[in-house]
Amino acid sequence: MTTVITVPPSLDDHSFEQVLEQVAPLPADAKILVDARHARWASPYGLTALLTLAQTRTERPAFAVPEQEETASYWARAAFFHHAEALYDLHGTYPKRRDLADSGTLLDITPITKSEDVHNVVGRVQERAQSIIKNELKLESKAIMGFAMTLSEVCQNIIEHAGQGGWVAVQSYKWTKRLGRRVVVIAVCDAGLGFRRSLEMTPGHVPSARWDDASALEEAVIRGVSRFRDRGRGQGLAGARNYVGRWNGKLAVRSGTARISIVPAWDDDVPLVEGLAPFPGAQVQVIIPEALAGGSER
């Protein structure tokens, strides 16, 4: 029997939880059909998380592509179907990527499996990010280098801790619904070990009385703890946290059943959410918004 998993019309980090809630009760080998026919929009997080979802299934899942031509075209240009073909049995029609114009995104969905991939990603993004951060987000030029550093560090998180490959995508768009301003968004998702299991590999690790996904995220994201004894480890996410703080952005990291966020004043998210539907690996989202005229937020 195939279970239909409905993708909400607008797919972002929050609404993706609806997808996970449907999948959570099912065993990994259950046959599922991920039904995106009525999807109209997806954030980079939504698209990379859908690919990641397929990697958590032992039985190859099916996927019904968005019916709306514009949506399917956008997903195709972002390389979603290009990668999804290897992970899902796709149903429905969608344009082939080679027939489409450049997506105009900062970085189409890109697999990250080794260090060289990070060099490639940073090199590809750098030039376009420069123009977008300066001209569209109207941030100081200092923000450009920090953006590339943050991208590099969150991608390395996959290689260092996931134990398997993951996905990255970077897009710039006007976030009308929540902010009414332009944003640049980095999404990095993997279906690997996750933070709790990674930290449990620390030599001599003794779990505290309350040791769970949430406390593992607090250790890693807030206190910069790494599974490696090397004192220099753990600086990557700390650097990303400092960067979003400096530019009034948002950092959200989900792993297992918890999500931790560095929440700016413009957002009403909660800093720590526990008891989410379980999802392997780690999923990171960085949002950097356009500066307000006069810099009144900072």
């Binding site: 060099h119 490639n120 750098q126 590099s152 700390a238």
Partner: protein
């Protein structure tokens, strides 16, 4: 004096030479390996310019591998040789990563600027005062440094020796000189 161009080390490290970014921990470790190999070919006591002029960007992980671990090795009691470093071509784009890793490890380095030398990183107040005085004086004995800051000579001597261990000053005979200000 030796000169090590980090972008050359980077090109030798990566399979292709398309990128001028110092990113990822494995890349940083490989670049540091190149630096250490070049240092091992130099004299027992050597001042080396570590040149970042052609490096576009550097992330935290790479800064930790290239800079922090290099310094940690050469400030330790088991340093393979008496090596001193002056860092050149460090721009605003590199500073954030470098300052972060220096702070994390309690390290400091000498930075060559257009018009002189600056210390970046963690220094105690006493170290800062002695370094500033030595920088103004040029090559000088400990007693002159003590006079300059109106301090006890024994105290000045202790701090100067500590700065030498941290690779920020060099002792030449009975005199001290700030790294990067004299080619001693």
């Amino acid at each position: 004096m030796n000169h090590i161009d980090i972008s050359s080390c980077l090109r030798q490290t990566l399979a292709c030479d398309l990128y001028s970014n110092l990113v990822t921990r494995p890349t940083g470790a490989a670049v540091r390996g190149q630096i250490e190999r070049l240092l091992s070919e130099s004299h027992e006591r050597a001042l080396t310019v570590i040149d970042f002029s052609h490096v576009s960007m550097m992330d935290f992980s790479c800064a930790d591998e290239v800079i922090a671990k290099l310094l940690i090795r050469y400030v330790s009691d088991e340093a393979p040789q008496d090596a001193y470093f002056i860092f050149r071509g460090v721009t605003e784009d590199h500073r954030d990563a470098i300052e972060t890793v220096l702070e994390r490890h309690g390290l400091a380095l000498a930075l060559e600027l257009g018009d002189g030398v600056e210390v970046m990183g963690v220094l105690s107040d006493a170290e800062r005062r002695v370094w500033d005085a030595s920088y103004r004086l040029g090559r000088a004995p400990a007693s002159d440094v003590a006079n300059q800051i109106d301090a006890d000579p024994e105290h000045a001597l202790r701090v100067l020796d500590a700065l030498c261990r941290r690779r920020l000053m060099m002792r030449i005979d009975d005199e001290y000189v700030v790294v990067g200000t004299a080619r001693g």
